[in-house]
């Protein structure tokens, strides 16, 4: 088994590592059918001693861990959101907005005062600046001009991360999520330094499904993996991850990128027919249009997402199939609950959860032989990064001989999506296809990724180039049998 410090390097942050440990221990007990009797012991397994390792005392640490175990077991059923706040874990970070810090030297220039158009800045007898919060509009100009960087914006990381502005502060000063605005992208989950916002895990459903399949004899359990997997588990190679999935008990593993190839074909035809379209593969983007630009939702492509499209095909070929999607995305967990998708996708796992599942079985994937994963084309595979859907749609048009003057607007991150949608709503968009991805960089920036890095886009492109099928048409031809 790998050493803890090695395991830590598999994640970006210690918060992810902690969440992983909870998932791993929960899964370990679930495989052994001992979870219900022993779930109360998990916090103590993770924080065994009397000395606190993260918080003020071990009791609080264990109380929070008990909440994390609940989230690992599916979270609170009465809360419809995939993303939940563990209120006792929320550190109630300062959220006062712009404040003058000790770094203010009481200078003579008073640039802060001059730049403030609201007259909110005054000085005490030491010439130190103060901000009158009743006048301040949080424009940040004072912070920009201070030569000592003495004025800071105290905002909560979760609120900074949440570009749809779904996070508010409740009367207990803990973060609260507005479920109507939340698009389940998980940006706050990844960003909260205390791990107080987290996504529900449905990992136990997967364990249950695998066990009851009795080695895929009662029914078959298919793993559909997102193409962003190529940028993950980089301490091993992709072929070993595939073997690992089969060792866990999956019948076989198929690329969601194949669903992306199918979508590219269908979406290009739909676009040519309608003249304007917004992409439908990112559930965060689709949810954002519905909540923030409801007047534009008629333009959302009617196509299923690649995940759901492939699952539909799978269930047509094998009606008793169980399909588990494994990807970088928390919003996919919400998509899987939609009426249209529920019959197709049985459960969704993140890469974080997959790592926990491997280790709950003490599977060191680096020691496993390599299996293969090759069905989709280059174009289906590059859906994982920003710009990929646009490239694929352009290629699908070319392959199908569709004459259409495609002007794609690839947007990654909700702010870029918002700009394009805003322009469209005012008829000022120079484009006829908005490719929207809620996460920065596309799916490779997803909250359920183990690691995020500069190289990830290059990894996806490399994986794309390694595809045996060079055209979308060849990749999908086999599915028209």
């Amino acid at each position: 088994m790998s050493q803890p410090n090695q395991t830590l390097r598999r994640f970006d942050t210690k918060v992810q590592y902690l969440k992983y440990k909870v998932l791993r221990e929960t899964a370990r007990l679930a495989w052994e059918d001992k979870l219900l009797e022993n779930m109360m012991d998990i916090p103590k397994t993770i924080v065994p001693g009397k000395e606190p390792t993260m918080r003020c005392c071990v009791y609080k640490e264990r109380a929070i861990l008990a909440e994390r175990v609940k989230m690992a077991m599916g979270g609170h059923a009465d809360n419809p959101n995939i993303i939940e706040v563990i209120d006792i874990a929320c550190d109630e970070c300062p959220a006062a907005g712009y404040e003058v810090t000790d770094s203010c030297r009481g200078c003579l220039a008073h640039r802060c005062e001059d730049v403030c158009r609201r007259g909110a800045i005054s000085f005490d007898h030491n010439h130190v600046a103060h901000i009158d919060k009743s006048k301040c509009v949080e424009c940040g100009q004072c912070a920009k001009v201070c030569p000592y960087s003495a004025i800071v914006d105290r905002k909560r990381p979760c609120q900074v991360a949440c570009k749809v502005k779904a996070i508010t502060i409740n009367e207990d000063k803990a973060a609260a999520i507005d479920d109507e605005k939340c698009i389940q992208c998980g940006a706050c989950v990844y960003m909260c330094p205390f791990g107080a916002v987290t996504d529900k895990s449905f990992m136990l459903n997967v364990i249950d499904m695998l066990k009851k399949s009795e080695n895929n004899t009662k029914y078959k359990v298919y793993a559909v993996v997102a193409p962003s997997i190529s940028s993950q588990f980089t301490y091993a190679n992709l072929g070993q991850v595939i073997t690992g999935l089969k060792e866990l008990g999956f019948f076989t593993v198929i690329e969601a990128a194949l669903g992306a190839d199918m979508v590219a074909m269908e979406e290009s035809r739909e676009l040519a027919e309608k003249g304007f379209l917004t992409s439908s593969c990112c559930p965060g983007f689709v949810a954002y249009i519905k909540s923030a630009f409801p007047e534009l939702q008629e333009h959302i492509s009617h196509n299923l997402s690649p995940m759901a499209r492939l699952a539909k095909y799978l269930k047509e070929t094998d009606p008793t199939a169980k399909v588990v999607f494994i990807g970088p995305c928390t919003a996919k967990k919400a998509e899987a609950r939609q009426e249209r998708v529920r019959p197709l996708i049985d459960t969704v796992l993140t890469f974080e959860e997959l790592q926990a599942l491997f280790d709950s079985r003490d599977l060191d994937i680096t020691t496993l032989p390599e299996d293969v994963l090759d069905n989709a084309s280059y174009y289906g595979r590059i859906f994982a990064r920003s710009g990929g859907v646009s490239d694929a749609v352009a290629q699908a048009m070319k392959e199908q001989g569709i004459e259409f003057d495609l002007k794609a607007v690839p947007c990654d991150g909700i702010e870029a999506c918002r700009m394009a949608l805003l322009k469209k709503s005012k008829n000022a968009l120079a484009g006829n296809f908005i490719e929207g991805m809620a996460c920065t960089g596309g799916c490779i920036g997803g909250a359920g990724c183990l690691t995020h890095g500069e190289k990830n886009k290059a990894e996806v492109d490399k994986y794309g180039r390694e595809a045996m099928e060079k055209t979308i048409g060849d990749a999908v031809s086999i599915y028209n049998i």
């Binding site: 076989t252 198929i254 094998d318 090759d374 069905n375 086999i478 049998i481």
Partner: protein
Amino acid sequence: MKVTVCIGSSCHIKGSRQVVEQLQHLIAENGLKEKVDLSGTFCMGKCQQGVCVTVDEAFHSVSPETVEDFFNTQIKAKA
């Protein structure tokens, strides 16, 4: 007659697309479209023997090079 070709990753790499395309062509050429139901499936659990094909449950190992022989002996002769 039900003919199923494995289109999982392992068989795909060994040429299941070519096998399917040739079978489609041969079935059409021999006027067997009504008699032969050709379909795909993901994995038959015998990846080492791919491209895996079943004809009414009977297992065959086929490759793009042997597909014509396979068609003549297992499909055309029995259909």
